[in-house]
């Protein structure tokens, strides 16, 4: 019972006041209450081989406070769990530095082993300036207080370790952020350097084609046209690679804010029309309002929908139709893009969200990255994406559906990536710490 009570007290007291304050108060209260000259609390470190001064009241830190005034065997006996009271410091054979005791004016000393849940973790020394008689009950009570000190020391150890871990983690986080910034700026540079020559070369080809169409035969003209197209494809690949890398490194999280699904869909549908109309494809919508607001990136959600639409446009013949649906269901917004196009073979279906997976490897169109970018965007919004082909209701085409939860989901690591100035602070951390 005694253990339980003491443990409870230790926990709530430390939570309220912080370790330093409590052990300071402890040694002071004990000194005054026992009408002693002073009191020192020492911690046992290095697996029980060294006593280190932790706090004292009424007596100097050096000398007596160092914890080595007793002969080794006497000290060992105490640290095995046996309290010791030395009535006369000046003449007791167990005291090895009598001159210290004399200098401080200490006549008697009480040595109390201090315990925590695992065993003895320290020593409490109580100093008396005159010969003192302590009754059995008083000794037992002081012993209980020493034990309280022990539990508190245990909490202090744990807290220090926690703080050290938090500081390490913080340092790693800052390093990670720095590296990510470097990487992103490197990426921008590289993509620019990759794209510029492609743009220049394509520009030349276009102008040459224009100028010399009269003196080139059909085959040469076709060759130049093909070259221009292939350069377009390369530029798209470079852009997609940049996108993917940006998404990988969490760039998107910076764009998160409160957005309206209705606005996102409105803009996406408008752009979908622009993509589909030139190819003679109609866009139908089935949007069940009202739709909620969500903490997300509106540009990415639009990009997601448009990627799906442009896939559908690519594989749907002229005169075909694409349907965009959206509804709220069980705390998530579900959006589907459905077409009547050529569909996806069943054996390919499980792979379509992989990077560089192209439904038709021979086709020059598309980079194979579009759907993996879609999946990244969905992942970063903690949602899910899946495809059905053929569409069960119509037996043809493809439908890609994704769901995005409505609740603000912000994992701890997301939060730390977003906040630039997070610093660890725990209750009881001594003021004037390193930060």
């Amino acid at each position: 019972m005694r253990d339980r009570i003491i443990h409870e007290i230790a926990r709530s007291v430390v939570a309220a006041g912080g370790v330093e304050n409590v052990i300071q108060a402890l040694v002071e209260a004990i000194t005054r209450g026992a009408e002693a000259k002073g009191c020192t609390l020492l911690t046992l470190k290095e697996g029980g081989r060294r006593l280190v001064h932790r706090v004292s009241y009424g007596v100097g830190k050096g000398g007596l406070g160092e914890g080595n005034i007793l002969a080794d065997h006497a000290l060992e006996h105490i640290l095995e769990g046996n309290p010791l009271f030395i009535w006369d410091m000046a003449s007791d054979p167990r005291v090895i530095r009598k001159e210290e005791a004399d200098r401080e004016g200490v006549a008697s000393m009480l040595f109390l082993p201090v315990r925590d849940s695992k065993g003895v973790n320290g020593l409490m020394q109580l100093y008396f300036s005159e010969g003192k008689k302590l009754g059995g009950e008083e000794l037992a009570f002081l012993d209980a207080l020493a034990e309280l000190g022990g539990f508190i020391l245990e909490k202090a150890e744990a807290q220090e370790l926690l703080l050290r871990d938090a500081e390490d983690a913080h340092r790693d986080l800052l390093q990670m952020r720095k590296e990510r910034r470097h990487f992103l700026s490197f990426l921008s540079m590289v993509t620019h350097d990759l794209k510029s020559p492609l743009v220049a070369v394509q520009g030349y080809l276009k102008v040459l084609l224009r100028k010399s169409a009269d003196c080139l035969d059909e085959r040469m003209i076709a060759g130049i046209r093909r070259s221009i197209q292939r350069l377009d494809a390369m530029m798209e690949l470079v852009s997609d690679l940049l996108e993917l890398s940006r998404l990988e490194s969490g760039q998107m999280l910076y764009e998160f804010k409160t957005v309206s699904w209705e606005e996102v869909l409105g803009a996406a549908v408008e752009m979908a029309h622009e993509l589909a109309e030139p190819k003679g494809i109609t866009v139908a919508t089935e949007i069940h309002r009202p739709l909620p607001e969500v903490f997300a990136s509106d540009i990415r959600l639009q990009q997601l929908i448009l990627n799906l639409v442009s896939n559908s446009v690519r594989f749907t013949p002229r005169g075909g139709r694409i349907t965009i649906r959206a509804r709220l269901e069980n705390d998530a917004v579900i959006v589907g893009v459905e077409d009547e196009g050529t569909g996806i073979e069943p054996e390919k279906l499980p792979h379509i969200f992989e990077e560089f997976y192209k439904g038709d490897p021979e086709s020059p169109e598309g980079t194979g990255l579009g759907l993996s970018i879609c999946k990244r965007i969905v992942d970063q919004h903690h949602g899910a994406i899946w495809a059905e082909s053929p569409v069960p209701e119509t037996k043809k085409g493809t439908r890609v559906t994704f769901s995005i939860p409505v609740g603000v989901i912000c994992r701890l690591e997301d939060k730390w990536l977003l906040e630039e100035n997070v610093s660890p602070s725990l209750p009881g951390k001594p003021k004037g710490g390193k930060e």
Binding site: S196, V199, A200, V201, Q202, G203, Y204, V207, K211
Partner: protein, 131 residues
């Protein structure tokens, strides 16, 4: 007299291909490889139109823009400008607003790669035919 166009871009290929295109249509083309050279040539040559790249060394396109707002360039502050760049329009507009507190105003903004026909149509809409 033929209309004069000042083309500023640090990529020699872009400068060559675009000059070829414009000269074929009858325009006179002066070129500059960065913003500093562009500003000098504006003073020397009095072009009727500027085609400006944004990302150039020393003085970039934004630098030219800002310089043209300075009283020293008052005589040329009304020259129509076509921005021809790989930077996305919203990005440029936002950057300019952040840096100067004003919105960027230009005759036209074309994102590279631009179709030759589109470029010619844009030039013509701003200064007419070569003349």
């Amino acid at each position: 007299m033929a209309k004069k166009i000042l083309l500023a871009d640090d990529d020699p290929e872009v400068v060559d291909a675009t000059s070829m295109l414009l000269e074929d249509e009858g325009y006179e083309v002066i070129t500059a490889k960065d913003g500093a050279e562009a500003l000098e040539k504006i003073k020397e040559e009095n072009p009727d139109l500027l085609i400006l790249d944004l990302l150039m060394p020393h003085v970039d396109g934004f630098g030219v823009f800002k310089a043209l707002e300075d009283p020293a360039f008052a005589k040329w502050s009304k020259i129509p400008i076509i921005i021809l760049t790989s930077v996305r329009r919203e990005v440029s507009n936002r950057r300019y607003e952040l840096e100067t507190g004003r919105s960027m105003s230009y005759g036209a903004y074309l994102e590279k790669p631009a179709e030759p026909d589109e470029l010619l149509a844009t030039v013509s809409s701003l200064i007419g035919n070569a003349g």
